[in-house]
Symmetry: C2
């Protein structure tokens, strides 16, 4: 008996993806399991064959989202050779989350942070389950930095700080994204990030004058 594992996995993923679409538009609570079932094209009962609780669905959706996100990043970064341009691409892609207003990622970011912060949030007691996935982005940036260092584009002395720099960089990008959305100053985002990038580049480039680090 036992239907082929592939089939099962596929449906499980279809549910997670449907859930992701709803979580990222409605928010956790308002994305009801009934609605998720409808969106996924399955019965409500079926969902509980694959997941024990709504929390589990959310975790799965979050993982799905982070995977997709990082894959998109990776694939765009792989087309770029220069680490400097790669860093700027990371910034630009984050800016584009709000610039042509793709609120899906913004909302999901907020939702994940929220569920991780609230004491009875879905992720609160299960952050360790997410750690690997969450650190993926940071690893990507660290790698860019290390490549830059080995090519003598970035100062050698930042080597011991790569993880701190990467974390700061990503935290900054998230912060600016959230503020940007809230204040509706979308049009200024690019300039702000550009200014920040200039400073950052000025600080880590071996030869700051050759590249001025302007965004775009």
């Amino acid at each position: 008996m036992m239907r082929k594992g592939k089939q099962k996995e596929k449906k499980e993923r279809r549910i997670a993806q449907a859930a992701l679409r709803l979580f990222s538009t409605k928010g956790y609570r308002a994305a009801s399991v009934d609605r998720i079932a409808e969106e996924a094209g399955v019965g409500k009962g079926t969902i509980y064959e694959y997941y024990d609780s709504k929390s589990d669905i959310f975790l799965a959706a979050t993982k799905e989202w982070m995977m997709e996100f990082q894959e998109k990043f990776q694939s765009r970064l792989s087309e770029i050779e220069d680490p400097v341009e790669q860093l700027q691409a990371v910034a630009r892609m984050n800016v584009e989350l709000i610039e042509p207003l793709d609120p899906v990622n913004a909302r999901m970011t907020v939702e994940v942070i929220r569920q991780g912060i609230l004491e009875d949030g879905v992720i609160f007691g299960r952050r360790n389950e997410m750690r690997d996935v969450m650190q993926g982005m940071q690893k990507i940036v660290e790698k860019i930095l290390l490549t830059g260092i080995s090519r003598k584009l970035f100062k050698a002395e930042i080597a011991r700080d790569v993880s701190s720099i990467a974390a700061n960089f990503l935290a900054y990008l998230d912060g600016i994204m959230l503020h940007g959305i809230l204040s509706e100053n979308h049009f200024q985002i690019k300039e702000k990030v550009g200014g920040f990038m200039e400073i950052l580049m000025h600080e880590i480039l071996t030869d700051p004058d050759k590249q001025n680090g302007k965004l775009q």
Copy 2:
């Protein structure tokens, strides 16, 4: 008749403050009006004498929160003369939001952003009502920068970028706060922010070598 306006205002504020406590710990939905009434020590019906809806309570609580926050900032900053130290105090105060683990601000920040992003969020269509309050912090930082410039501590050429720098600075601090809480790397926050401050100071100080901008 009509009880003294003062009395009314006081109760209205007590409700908002009770609501703030709950919103910032439970989140919007889980902070039920029943619970808010209990926390404020009034009947549920009474709440609706002062506010038309739960949304209104949330807006009031948010304003209350931002006021308190900015007052705290202002009062601590007023004890400091040197703009450089003032900037660092701003950073330090933000770090302390998570360092002695007082997640109230973090949670409220996320909650406000969330309600501003979600289409059926409480603030979604009413962001303009909040704008002034929200820009308060930025104004404070801008003022610090301008003072620093007029005292020749900061480079004169940053004058045209003060608002951008201030916005970036605050966005960064929020981003690092949220990431810090989420990743539970509290102990590294101070170092990260310290590194960032060093870079920032290096970039805006007229004489970067005199002050190295280390946090703490």
